[in-house]
Symmetry: C2
Subunit: 226 residues, 2 copies
DNA sequence: GAGTGTGAATTCTTTCACAGCG
DNA sequence: CGCTGTGAAAGAATTCACACTC
């Protein structure tokens, strides 16, 4: 109960916080022990005030006149993100994207361990991809429960996504990284982060189109949706 | 000169606009001819006022009492995004992610054509993946120019990203979908949309952690960063 | 009645600017 | 001094609410 008072949470801030963590981890690796809000801000394309506000939200982080202790802050941020210890992650749907993620090393470095994979195509079941055994969709609920998997990557075709998401929720999953281009309807206690690659490319093409065509008509296009 | 006056542009609105387009394309396929802001809003988890404002920004789209003509609006949105005709896209870096994107059919449906792929690993050069020939990094500039490629997917390791991005910009690329977990420094007329998968998973784990641990301390966690 | 477009009101975020600590 | 933490100010984005159209 004794923890910091909680005024308001800034949704976008979470995104930035994860950038701070990434940056601080790099600095730690270079044995830098201390960093100022200014430095962080410059590295990430933000303002120093923004960085301070974000960090201060979770309590006192820095020391005036000195800055932020790199290693310390990394530790505290990891606690905030819950990544002091690894999360087990399941990949559901082993198409081109699912397969790529199973072979992707970036997750391991950030505290995520690919612990299971599922597909309903018999040709894929039983194979090992990136060291992970592909199981049948039918085994999903049991495996998720047994391994206490809370986070999943959903990479099934759009038509199947809602149905599979519901199965995941029933099995106790609490977070879904959704690559299917549909909005998922899930219970309130389940978080969904959408990653619609088509939509992202489209945003790019918008900025490119707006920049060239409407050079004058859209003077204020911003190009960073970090 | 004769086009609509341009008050202000809403950066986040672009993201939503691309959702409207996706949704409208689906409706068109189901032969629905007309749709109200309310319906769109419900399907995408937004408010109706939001939908109207966004669409109205580009001029009169809807008819009072009726709604928006689905097919018409799709056409107009495509013009706004510049996707009436296909864009040629290059994939740079054919690791696990690059390979996946080459095999990903979602792009084609949204007006993007994978037209080239590059890597510096000799073992990959000369192969065809997803119907696309992998070329050497050295051929990048020439090919990008010859095929007039404006959009690229950057999927090289983090350390190489900045350098490759600069080469892309020099070759005339105007938009980069960046999968490398680093902030790219590019000229003002080049758009970058970052896709940091590790960071996205981390955001998920934040929400899951906050929801369970801080049930009371963080009452207002939002779970949709659509 | 149903539904858009839009100024005005509200709410959310970011930036400013400065008191105070190391 | 340099740099944090933080109220207060400024700036954006969202929602309200209503005139007006079909």
């Amino acid at each position: 109960m004794g923890s910091a008072r909680s005024d308001r949470i800034s949704p976008l801030a979470v995104k930035r916080l994860s950038l701070y963590l990434r940056c601080l981890e790099e600095l730690a690796q270079q044995d830098q022990t201390t960093v100022s809000s200014r430095q962080l801000a410059k590295a990430l394309g933000l303002t120093d005030a923004q960085v301070r506000k974000d960090l201060a939200y979770f309590g006192q982080f820095g020391r005036p006149g000195v800055g932020y202790a790199v290693q310390d802050t990394v530790t505290r941020l990891r606690v905030i993100f819950g990544t002091q210890k690894d999360w087990e992650v399941a990949v559901v749907g082993v198409g081109s994207i699912g397969r790529a993620l199973l072979g992707f090393k970036g997750f391991g470095q950030r505290g995520f361990r690919l612990a299971a994979a599922f597909d309903k195509d018999p040709a894929k079941i039983g194979r090992k991809i990136g060291g992970v055994l592909v199981q049948s969709a039918g085994e999903l609920a049991a495996t998720v429960r047994k391994k206490r998997i809370r986070l999943t990557v959903l990479a099934v075709p759009a038509q199947a996504a809602q149905e599979v998401a519901e199965a995941l929720c029933r099995a106790g999953v609490k977070g879904i990284l959704n690559f299917a281009p549909v909005r998922l309807n899930v219970p309130d206690d389940v978080a969904v982060v959408p990653v619609d690659l088509g939509s992202l490319l489209q945003q790019l093409s918008y900025f490119v189109t707006a920049a060239q065509a409407g050079n004058q008509t859209h003077p204020g296009v911003r190009r960073d949706l970090t």
